[in-house]
């Protein structure tokens, strides 16, 4: 009886969890984009917490500090940071509501989940645009 052991062993593909450095190489479906953006926006909001609390504090102490906060927020750089944070908040909120609904086992089918992932963008991006118009004084 011949043994098959002599034949070279086929190299079997090995699948591991996605590493953070590989994220950009993956062509991700909308739900995966929503997911990673949920994490990125959450981390950004966490990092911005001292800045946001500081602004919240200034806005409430007195009329004078309120003006100081408004002045600090009127520079273009701070406005861009605030716009980014507005996007992070809106994306995190809308995507988070989607997750709460998914947790109720509603909309788990692939086509529905894909649609709801796209809906997250359809809601959060126009709201971000609204925040941009407000920030840069269109209304």
């Amino acid at each position: 009886m011949s043994t098959p052991a002599a034949a070279p062993r086929k190299v079997r593909p090995e699948f591991r969890n996605i590493h953070v450095t590989q994220i950009v190489q993956y062509r991700m479906p909308p739900a995966a984009m929503v997911s990673i953006m949920h994490r990125i926006s959450g981390a950004a909001l966490f990092l911005a917490l001292p800045f946001l609390l500081w602004m919240f504090d200034l806005s409430l102490i007195s009329e004078g500090t309120f003006e100081r906060m408004a002045l600090a927020a009127s520079g273009w750089f701070v406005k861009i940071v605030l716009l980014f944070l507005a996007w992070a908040f809106l994306h995190h909120l809308v995507a988070g509501i989607r997750y709460l609904i998914l947790d109720l086992h509603v909309g788990l089918e692939l086509p529905t989940a894909r649609k709801s992932a796209l809906a997250v963008y359809a809601i959060s991006l126009p709201l971000t645009l609204l925040a941009a118009l407000k920030l840069f004084g269109a209304f």
Binding site: G42, L53, Y99, L100, D103
Partner: protein, 125 residues
């Protein structure tokens, strides 16, 4: 979580960090998220009702005691929500235990400091 001595038969390679608290964290992440949705809905409505915002209109939103309490509860919910989320990020990407524990400790201390700070912010109005 008690650290077992090697003689206890559990082994010396017992993990001191990890996702043992999975279910509790999972549920609290959702509960705190719900609290935040309610808070931002209330804040949104109050902002729309208040109209153009000057200092008085903005500050008077936070004057009623129920709004202070709701805001503080939302703030604690946010900080706990952030704790679970940031801890998950450290657990996913930071493998050396000493580094992970350091980052988690700093995160927890920072969030606790923010909790104290937010009490002061709200009760000064």
């Amino acid at each position: 979580m008690p650290l077992a001595a090697p003689s206890a038969g559990i082994g010396t390679k017992r993990l001191v960090v990890g996702a043992h608290f999975g279910v509790g964290s999972f549920l609290l992440q959702r509960l705190t998220a719900l609290i935040l949705v309610v808070f931002f809905a209330v804040l949104g409505v109050r902002l729309l009702v208040a109209g153009p915002l000057d200092y008085v209109a903005w500050a008077s939103i936070f004057v009623p005691i129920w709004m202070k309490v709701l805001t503080l509860v939302a703030m604690f919910a946010l900080l706990y929500h952030a704790w679970i989320g940031v801890k998950d990020i450290w657990m996913d990407y930071v493998k050396p235990v000493w580094m992970r524990l350091t980052l988690q400790t700093l995160t927890a201390l920072w969030l606790l400091a923010c909790a104290v700070w937010s009490v002061q912010i709200l009760w000064r109005v």
